[in-house]
């Protein structure tokens, strides 16, 4: 390990004194010649510096003094370089993260322990545990300025709030070492990393849960929406017999009791298969910090997955741009939901969207009919988008495309008339392009739903509920 030792400005001034001493001593030796020369030239400085000739005796003493200072400096440097060479590589640093899988907005604690097993003291250490800006430090501090004696150890901890979804690395630990006199300094980064996986925010899911609780365990309209009358095992109602009804449905006991033919009706729950396709192209990464289009898309995806899990549907997810980055085949259950969340956490904006490629990939793994929720800003090639839709429809995949309207996600609310005009102009141009794409896709009976930051979650939910009502992708 090669470490650069910096000489601080304090050492600079110290050396200035030392070298000034040397320089001055040498000058003083020449002073008597200068004085006699000036006197011979008719310039008398005796009135100004009456003891100028006396201070020539200073010269050797100054040389010795400066020499001592210089040797002291070298000794300090040797001591510091020894500290750097011996102690720093042997420092034992461990980091403990209380919870490395959390939801966006949730907290986790980080504890750092540093041990100095050597026989040398570390005089002045500034330790900083590097935290990416996707976390907020809500309590405690991630840095400490301290000394670590030989064989000693220190510990510090802090609490982080996950501000952005993703897979983030905490670390490295940066160490700035200084000597006691503040002459030298060196910085080193110890590669101690911890991975924290931040799932999309649970806030929307919590809201849904609260709504469910207030509605007595049902979602609004759930009991009427998702039942399939006529089949299944749950009793629905008795009704009068029509001639078109099969004879096996007649309830003879009830018919005898009521004196007319009655039919027993049953109902069963609809189960659909849904895939959430999220475009992770680089344009989806635009927007406000921590509130990009992709962040909204993953939040919406997580919510749909949660709802599908609650309603016993099969659900899967795909993250795609130029290639398919992540794919989870449709399944159900709590474990599957957690897997989906884990995949959504990994979504990073990169590449250019390739919808046809993603659909073909999906068809390879899912040859049967299903419903697709595609969340994409449709900022790639229009022809490719249309082709993707065509391929999907040809293989009985029924898509609904949710389009985050880029200007509303990216351009801040205008504060001046000029910006207002600019925003309007951008919106007009954007809507013209979106309408063109929508019209092209609408010919195939596929809905393109423009979404704003305010309604993107509800639009995604609505498209899911519609699919459920219409049995799109029913198994």
């Amino acid at each position: 390990m090669i470490l650069k030792i910096r000489i601080t400005n304090v050492a600079g001034i110290y050396l200035l004194i030392t070298f000034f001493g040397f320089f001055f001593a040498l000058s003083l030796f020449q002073l008597k010649y200068l004085l006699s020369f000036l006197k011979a030239s008719g310039v008398d400085v005796g009135f100004l510096f009456p003891r100028a000739s006396d201070i020539v005796t200073f010269a050797p003493w100054l040389l010795v003094f400066s020499g001592i200072l210089l040797f002291a400096f070298v000794l300090s440097y040797l001591r510091f370089s020894m500290q750097v060479r011996i102690v720093l590589p042997r420092l034992e640093i461990t980091r403990a993260v209380s919870n490395d899988r959390i939801f966006q907005g949730e907290l986790t604690s980080v504890k750092i322990r540093i041990e100095n097993p050597t026989i040398f003291d570390l005089d002045r250490v500034i330790l900083t545990d590097m935290v990416p800006d996707t976390f907020d430090i809500v309590f405690g501090e991630n840095h400490v300025e301290v000394n670590i004696p030989a064989g000693g150890k220190i510990e510090f901890a802090y609490i982080l709030r996950a501000a952005a979804r993703g897979v983030h690395l905490i670390g490295p630990v940066s160490i700035m070492l200084m000597d006691k006199s503040s002459f030298f300094a060196t910085t080193i980064e110890i590669p101690v990393f911890s991975e924290i996986r931040v799932f999309p925010s649970y806030r929307d899911i919590k809201r849904l849960e609260i709504t469910q609780k207030t509605m007595g365990g049902f979602l609004p309209g759930q009991h009427t929406m998702f039942k399939l009358k006529g089949s299944g095992y749950d009793f629905h109602q008795l009704r009068q017999f029509y001639y078109s009804d099969p004879l096996k449905l007649i309830d003879w006991k009830a018919s005898a009791r009521l004196g007319k033919l009655m039919v027993r009706e049953y109902h069963g729950e609809k189960v659909i298969k849904i895939y959430i396709l999220i475009d992770t192209s680089y344009t989806m990464g635009y927007g406000y910090r921590r509130f990009t289009k992709l962040d909204f898309a993953t939040r919406a995806g997580a919510l749909v997955a949660y709802l599908a899990q609650k309603l016993q549907d099969f659900f899967g997810v795909m993250l795609f741009s130029s290639t398919v980055h992540n794919f989870v085949k449709a399944g159900r259950g709590r474990g599957h939901f957690m897997q989906i969340l884990s995949v959504l956490a990994e979504a990073e904006p990169e590449g250019v969207a390739n919808l046809p490629g993603a659909i073909r990939y999906l068809i390879d793994y899912e040859p049967r009919s299903c419903f697709l929720v595609i969340i994409s800003d449709l900022e790639s090639d229009v022809g490719a988008i249309v082709e993707g839709v065509k391929i999907a429809l040809a293989h009985k995949l029924r898509p609904a495309i949710i389009v985050p309207m880029s200007p509303l996600f990216e351009i801040p609310p205008p504060r001046s008339p000029f910006r207002q005009i600019f925003r309007e102009a951008v919106m007009i141009e954007y809507m013209r392009r979106l309408n063109t794409i929508s019209n092209k896709i609408a010919r195939f009976g596929v809905r393109v739903l423009p979404a704003t930051p305010q309604n993107i979650i509800s639009i995604v939910l609505e498209s899911y509920v519609r699919a459920k009502q219409r049995m799109i992708g029913a198994i």
Binding site: F47, F49, W61, V74, S181, I210, T214
Partner: protein
């Protein structure tokens, strides 16, 4: 959790005590140093330094006067008044009313009647530098910046030489090489050098200790405040939130179903993304982590990384005991070596010059550094 607050308070008090004692020591050493400086220089230098301040103030007044006079001249000419004497007097009066300076003194300067010799001016500059070094040291004591301390030393040493040349200092210097031990003890330069060396080592180290304590004290203070706020519920916006919540619900006319739903939401919405929500989450996490790991709370409050200074004073002394004698020995070795070259080759004028001594010294410094570095690498590979 109150026990942790007590612990924090105890630690704060102990840090404050240590901080104060280190600062006191720094002040004592600096005062001692200045007392010695004062004993070897003429007190006239300090007085002239003060005069320099008033002189600078006077120069500033002159600068302001020239601006005022120019404006008044233009104004008077615009009003067709061409009496220079009146304009000049009016400007002087105006300046006098603003700064309260002595009019006759200001007038003397303005007409070029200055009775200041070059010697006085030089002394004033040197005295001024002395005061500047004092200010640097005050800043060093207050802020703990070692660079200020170093600048003050550099200024003092430069000023001392100037004062000695001007005959305003009484530095006793014996001829080199010293004939006896008394030559060394009574030598002002030796005493000054020793004091300077000591003060660099001691004050530098004490300042480092004080700086670390200061940083840590501030940290403990910050953490203590936020810990109290979180755990004792001292959150100012609490009332504001509840008022906002009740107001928003009561002002609306809602159906029973909407009211039911709103109740479910309001509890969460009212607190969502607020400081209260975050504080309660933090408090909950600290409590739960504290149950699993008893040392967690002390770690997060910074109590497990308190700087320790039991060995600091000891290390200062050992540092001085090792560093100073070794540095003196090596320096003397360099000069002895240079002298022996001189006696070996007396016909060569070059090797009897001080520059040659300096070259030998530099050579020994370089050799010593390389040797020390080699030993360190070999021993602690």
């Amino acid at each position: 959790m109150r026990i942790y607050l007590d612990l924090l308070n105890r630690e704060r008090r102990s840090l404050l005590l240590r901080y104060a004692s280190f600062k006191m020591l720094i002040v004592i050493f600096l005062v001692t140093y200045y007392m010695y400086i004062n004993s070897i220089i003429n007190s006239n230098a300090w007085t002239m330094g003060l005069v320099a301040f008033s002189f600078i103030k006077l120069l500033f007044v002159v600068a302001v006067f020239s601006i005022v006079y120019s404006f008044m001249l233009i104004s008077a000419f615009a009003a067709n008044v061409y009496d220079y004497e009146v304009i000049y007097s009016a400007s002087l009066m105006l300046i006098n009313s603003i700064f309260g300076t002595n009019v006759s003194r200001l007038n003397n300067i303005l007409v070029g009647n200055v009775t200041l010799s070059i010697g006085d001016l030089l002394l004033m500059i040197l005295g001024f530098l002395l005061w500047i070094s004092v200010f640097y040291n005050i800043s060093f004591v207050a802020k703990g910046k070692v660079s200020h301390f170093m600048w003050s030393l550099a200024i003092i040493l430069l000023t001392l030489v100037g004062l000695e040349a001007m005959g305003q200092a009484n530095i006793m210097v014996s001829e080199w090489p010293p004939a006896s031990v008394s030559d060394l003890i009574t030598n002002s330069v030796v005493i000054l050098a020793m004091l300077t060396f000591f003060i660099i080592e001691i004050c530098g180290n004490l300042a480092y200790a004080a700086t670390i304590i200061d940083e840590y004290y501030k940290k403990i203070d910050r953490l203590s405040k936020s810990f109290r706020e979180i755990l004792m519920g001292q959150i100012r916006s609490e009332l504001v939130t509840s008022e906002r919540e009740s107001e928003s619900v009561s002002k609306l006319r809602l159906s029973p179903l909407a009211l039911l739903m709103l109740r479910g939401y309001s509890g969460m919405y009212a607190l969502e993304e607020t400081g209260e929500e975050l504080s309660s989450k933090v408090a909950g996490l600290i409590r739960s982590e504290g149950k699993n790991d008893r040392e967690f709370v002390t770690s997060i409050l910074g109590l497990k990384s308190v700087p320790r200074f039991t060995t600091t004073v000891l290390s200062i002394i050992t540092g001085l005991l090792v560093k100073l004698p070794l540095a003196i020995l090596l320096t003397l070795l360099a000069f002895i070596l240079a002298n022996s070259f001189g006696s070996l080759y007396p016909e060569l004028v070059e090797i009897r010059t001080p520059a040659f001594s300096l070259i030998i010294l530099t050579l020994i410094v370089v050799l010593f550094y390389l040797f020390g570095d080699f030993i360190a690498r070999r021993k602690f590979r």
